[in-house]
């Protein structure tokens, strides 16, 4: 507890130092506010436009969460299929690499063409981006079961379904959470990027990415900063929720989950 307080203290001190440096740069170089607003101006923008900031934040949060949850469900199903045989893995695994390497920015216009601009398209982009780490980590967890445990199940004439759902699946849960943790950050980034292209089906109302684009076109740099800050907070929030879920599910039996860690 005491050590955690010290860590928190360090983080706050670093934050304060960064804000001070920021203000110092403004004073020394006389940067105009449309290039770099002061910390105070950003704080004021947050206060003045809090309701619309919150609306943008909740839109992006919904899209990212939708993509992440759908990506987790789909990723687990794909991993269960991959766990069936080495053959299946060899045949299909290269295509999951494709998911990771396809430049999402390049296919975003295509997705908009297919499903239309708006939250649907953005959720789909977040979904596609969060799939790969979940598939990779869950598959690893499913196939790395100790030989003795497999033998134990075989000695009780366990069926294929029992082997999968009573042994491989629970064994893979810690790896699944590693995947979700990685995907949670990616889903938020995916949603923001998606919004830059397909942010809104209505003018003037959209998620963080859409609002960032809009604020920059209006040279509202202070609000732009506030939006970037909100996106960062959102990413942290996602990570925090996933880490809490991980702790909740694993702390009773799994060594690594006894103390939540960020890395």
């Amino acid at each position: 507890m005491r050590r955690r307080l010290i860590t928190l203290g360090n983080a706050v001190a670093v934050f304060a130092a960064l804000v001070a440096l920021w203000q110092l740069i403004l004073w020394i170089f006389h940067v105009p506010p449309y290039m770099l607003p002061s910390p105070y101006a950003v704080a004021k923008a947050v206060g003045a436009r809090f309701p619309s900031l919150l609306t943008s934040l909740s839109i992006t949060a919904e899209e990212a969460a939708g993509g992440l949850i759908a990506g987790t469900a789909m990723g687990v199903v794909v991993a269960l299929i991959f766990a069936q045989s080495r053959w299946v893995r060899k045949m299909l695994y290269p295509y999951t690499l494709l998911l990771q390497t396809v430049p999402i920015i390049a296919i975003a216009p295509l997705i908009i063409m297919w499903v239309g601009a708006g939250t649907g398209a953005v959720t789909l982009i977040a979904f596609i981006m969060s799939l790969a780490p979940i598939i990779a980590n869950t598959t690893q967890g499913l196939i790395s079961v100790e030989e003795n445990l497999v033998h134990l199940f075989l000695m009780h004439n366990a069926s294929r379904a029992q082997l999968l759902f009573k042994l491989r699946l629970p064994h893979s849960v810690p790896s699944l959470f590693v995947g979700i943790r990685i995907a949670s950050g990616i889903a938020v980034i995916g949603a923001v990027i998606g919004e830059l292209y397909a942010g809104s089906s209505r003018v003037g109302e959209g998620g963080l990415g859409y609002s960032i684009l809009y604020a920059s076109s209006q040279l509202q740099t202070d609000y732009l900063f506030a939006l970037v800050l909100a996106a960062t907070v959102l990413g942290f929030g996602f990570l925090f929720v996933v880490m809490f879920l991980e702790w909740y599910c694993l702390h009773r039996w799994h060594e690594s989950a006894r103390v939540p860690e960020t890395d």
Binding site: E146, N148, R252, E255
Partner: protein, 257 residues
């Protein structure tokens, strides 16, 4: 412990086992284990001790020869067999209670029977007080007790044990040896045991099979003529010491043969 009628439980006939590279791990294995026996395989590393258990359980097929268990092929005899592994092999996400009930659960036993059997076995191995604990919270000896309870829950007639107590300290090992014999006296299963420890082999067995390496083969078989009721006191008798000496000597011969 031997019955009047000698009924074979396990029969090896001309068994040979080699893996990919063609070199035999086990060769010329001819052996009959009778019902009610406690047979221990002992020998240096790489003499195929664990392979013997894998063959009996049908987890690996023989390259040549035949094995029958209770008159059946090993795979078909699995309902009568329980296997205890060296590292307890408990499922970490299940409590002790849920681990002990695993075998019955996989075999589709009714909930009532599972509850009764699990409770009785936890009582038997002295783990009732940690039924709700997870394996991570147990000592090595307690984990092994849970593993034994799990193996006995399906009422096996043949128990295969692969160095089950190798990772334990000597005191826990001795205690578990005594408990194992107590359980056997009550439940009358046949046992095939693998160990590195001569004293453990002598204390537990009715017969000791000494294996020689490269390729693994039977070097000698020694009956253990000690009284069937064995307690801790047996370890300090001259008869016990004599047998330990004799097995150790034969084991050394096996290494140089």
């Amino acid at each position: 412990m031997s019955s009047d009628v000698e009924v074979p439980m396990i029969q090896f006939a001309g068994v040979r086992k080699s893996y990919g590279n063609g070199q035999a791990v086990l060769d010329d294995l001819d052996l009959v284990v009778l019902k009610g026996e406690f047979v221990t395989f002992i020998g240096p590393s790489g003499c195929g001790k664990s392979t013997v258990l894998k063959l009996i359980s049908g987890l690996t097929p023989p390259t040549a020869g035949t094995i029958s268990v209770d008159g059946l092929t090993p795979k078909n005899a699995r309902e009568t067999i329980s296997y205890i592994f060296q590292d307890a092999s408990l499922l970490p996400w299940r409590t002790v209670w849920q681990n002990v009930g695993l075998g019955l659960e996989l075999e589709g036993a009714s909930k009532d029977r599972r509850r009764e059997t699990t409770a009785a076995l936890l009582e038997l191995v002295g783990l009732s007080h940690v039924a709700k604990a997870y394996p991570r919270e147990l000592s090595g000896g307690m984990k092994m007790r849970a593993s034994i309870a799990r193996a006995l829950a399906t009422s096996p007639r043949l128990l295969l044990m692969d160095e089950p107590f190798a990772a334990l300290d000597e005191m826990s090992r001795d205690r578990l040896n005594e408990e194992l014999l107590r359980l056997r006296a009550e439940q009358k299963w046949t046992a095939v045991f693998v160990t590195h420890s001569v004293a453990e082999a002598v204390f537990l067995s009715t017969r000791i099979v000494i294996l020689a390496p490269n390729p693994g083969r039977i070097h000698a078989m020694l009956p253990v003529e000690l009284p069937p009721e064995r307690t801790a006191a047996l370890r300090s008798t001259p008869e016990f010491d004599d047998l330990v000496g004799k097995v150790s000597r034969t084991l050394r011969e096996a290494l140089t043969s």
